[in-house]
């Protein structure tokens, strides 16, 4: 009985030690949004070089818009983060989702907007991971 309890305590302690800080979990969502921007930019450069078909690009934009819109909801609802950081992440995700939608309509990537928003998301993620959450929101404005 004591041995079982000890094992459970050890497992719980190890799980706690491994558990992501709220910052890491939040930063991961922001990085996922930035990843969509990077993937779209990369795929569009390959389309320009004639290496991927147009259908794939449109599919990528469509899924990117859906996924980033979902991420926007998640970052807005993350109550572990200061409101300013949530608001900044949410605004950037909304901008990215809009860029995907306009890219879908134009059937070509809005490269400038994807690149800028992606870079800002990455900077925000780095700042959040480093623990400078409030400064993070200000730094990328």
């Amino acid at each position: 009985m004591i041995r079982k309890a000890r094992t459970l305590v050890l497992l719980a302690a190890a799980t706690f030690a491994c558990s992501p800080s709220p910052n890491a979990a939040f930063a991961r969502k922001v990085e996922q949004a930035a990843s969509w921007a990077a993937a779209a930019e990369f795929a569009d450069s390959m389309r320009t070089a004639g290496r991927v078909p147009q259908g794939y690009i449109e599919d990528l934009f469509e899924h990117g818009a859906e996924d980033v819109a979902e991420l926007e909801k998640q970052v807005s609802a993350d109550e572990h983060m200061p409101a300013s950081v949530r608001s900044r992440a949410s605004t950037l995700c909304a901008r990215l989702a809009a860029a995907f939608r306009t890219s879908t309509e134009a059937k070509a990537a809005n490269v400038g907007e994807l690149r800028t928003t992606g870079a800002e998301l990455r900077r925000l993620a780095v700042a959040v991971r480093s623990g400078a959450a409030d400064e993070a929101a200000g730094a990328v404005r």
Partner: protein
């Protein structure tokens, strides 16, 4: 000469049939997020699966029993129901991921929604099983599966720093986010140590009437075949580390990763990615659907063989038909194939001890295997890797759920 041809065929089957949605998805994500840091998980998983496959082949060659058959005879029906249930649950989730992966490959290639492709893919898998024989399916998958070697070609083409690659064959502390790192390690281990591979291999050995003279080819095929097969997974991880990671692409979905081969292989790269995903997934779907039938029929003592006509084993055919039908549901509901894959792989690792512990007991039974029972190296290697995987899963899955 015939023995050599059999060994070559066995290795070819292992290489061609190795890649599937789990190994591809987990290697892509691991390489994109952690570069080479998770290479050790592929190596550990491969060592473990090579031992497990060799053991079940040895069991079949010596006792002429499949793994499930031997377990039922040794532990009784009441016990056997538990590993059976665990494996059917795992098989169904992985089968659903494979059908989703194959349908997604068609979406990437055509631009037509995945939901349109789910039923045609399921019908294709069912038709091939209904009409084909074990040997034809196994060899067909192996030959078509060689297309996945394009990842090895791409990895060589990209000239990675091999010293840096080799450094990560042993585990190291991750440079960031240990929770995500552990979860990806669990995914890779689950994809590599697939329980279905083990029971499928065992059933195949009995279908092909292995005897003592097949022991050496079995050992070579298990070691070399699995080793070569896992180089495809390692190559995907390397390509992802060199193409996706520097661009900040995390491969959170297959759409993000589909252009990965266009850097080293040009316009062929995109189509080779789609073909690899489709063939790998369909090949694994054949094996998984058959495995559900094999383990169910062997547990209940029904007539079983993929070489017999469906009318000769109606219950056997009915089980894989039902399994395929059930496995279409997640993709039809719109669940993302990569997320489903990661969940299935984690579930696989959690269930591993329940499936592999009885095998270890059997393999140490000298009444059953006589002088061919396990040695201590095999026992220690398998126990250590399974326990490591299980502990990682128990730690990483709740953390991942909390993080999500």
């Amino acid at each position: 000469m015939k023995k050599l041809a059999n060994i070559a065929l066995g290795i070819l089957t292992s290489v061609g049939g190795y890649l599937e949605v789990g190994s591809m998805g987990t290697a892509l994500q691991a390489g994109a997020a952690y570069r080479y840091q998770l290479l050790w998980a592929i190596v550990a998983g491969t060592i473990c699966v090579a031992f497990l496959v060799e053991m079940t082949g040895r069991l079949a060659a010596v006792s002429h029993h499949t793994l499930v058959d031997a377990m039922r005879k040794h532990f009784g029906f009441t016990f056997q129901i538990w590993p059976l249930t665990a494996q059917i649950v795992v098989d169904l989730f992985v089968l659903a991921s494979e059908i989703g992966g194959a349908s997604l490959a068609l979406e990437l290639a055509t631009g037509v929604s995945i939901r349109v492709w789910v039923i045609p893919v399921a019908v294709l898998v069912w038709l091939v099983l209904w009409l084909g024989s074990f040997g034809a399916i196994e060899r067909g998958v192996a030959v078509l599966g060689l297309v996945t070697l394009c990842f090895v070609l791409a990895a060589l083409w990209l000239h990675p720093d091999w010293r840096d690659v080799a450094r990560h064959v042993v585990p190291r502390r991750p440079d960031r986010d240990p929770a995500q790192y552990a979860y990806l390690a669990v995914g890779i281990l689950g994809a590599t140590i697939s329980p279905y591979l083990v029971s499928f291999y065992s059933s195949g050995a009995v279908e092909e009437k292995w005897s003592l003279k097949d022991l050496m080819p079995n050992r070579i095929v298990a070691g070399v075949g699995m080793g070569f097969g896992s180089t495809v997974s390692a190559a995907i991880l390397i390509v992802a580390a060199l193409v996706l990671a520097p661009r900040g692409i995390l491969a959170g979905s297959y759409e993000q990763a589909a252009a990965i081969l266009t850097v080293p292989l040009g316009r062929w790269g995109f189509w080779l990615f789609c073909a690899s995903l489709f063939i790998g997934c369909v090949g694994a779907a054949f094996e998984l659907a058959l495995d559900v039938s094999y383990i169910t029929a062997q547990t209940f003592g029904w007539n079983w063989s993929e070489n017999q006509k469906p009318a000769a084993g109606p219950r056997f055919s009915l089980v894989y038909t039902a399994a395929i039908l059930v496995a279409t549901v997640p993709s039809l509901l719109g669940i993302d194939p990569l997320k489903l894959t990661m969940f299935s792989m984690a579930l696989t690792v959690v269930m591993l001890p329940l499936i592999t512990a009885p095998l270890l007991v059997l393999m140490n039974d000298k009444r059953l295997l006589k002088r061919y029972a396990n040695g201590w190296i095999t026992n220690v290697a398998v126990v250590v890797i399974i326990l490591l995987s299980f502990t990682l899963a128990v730690l990483a899955i709740p953390v991942q759920i909390m993080g999500a």
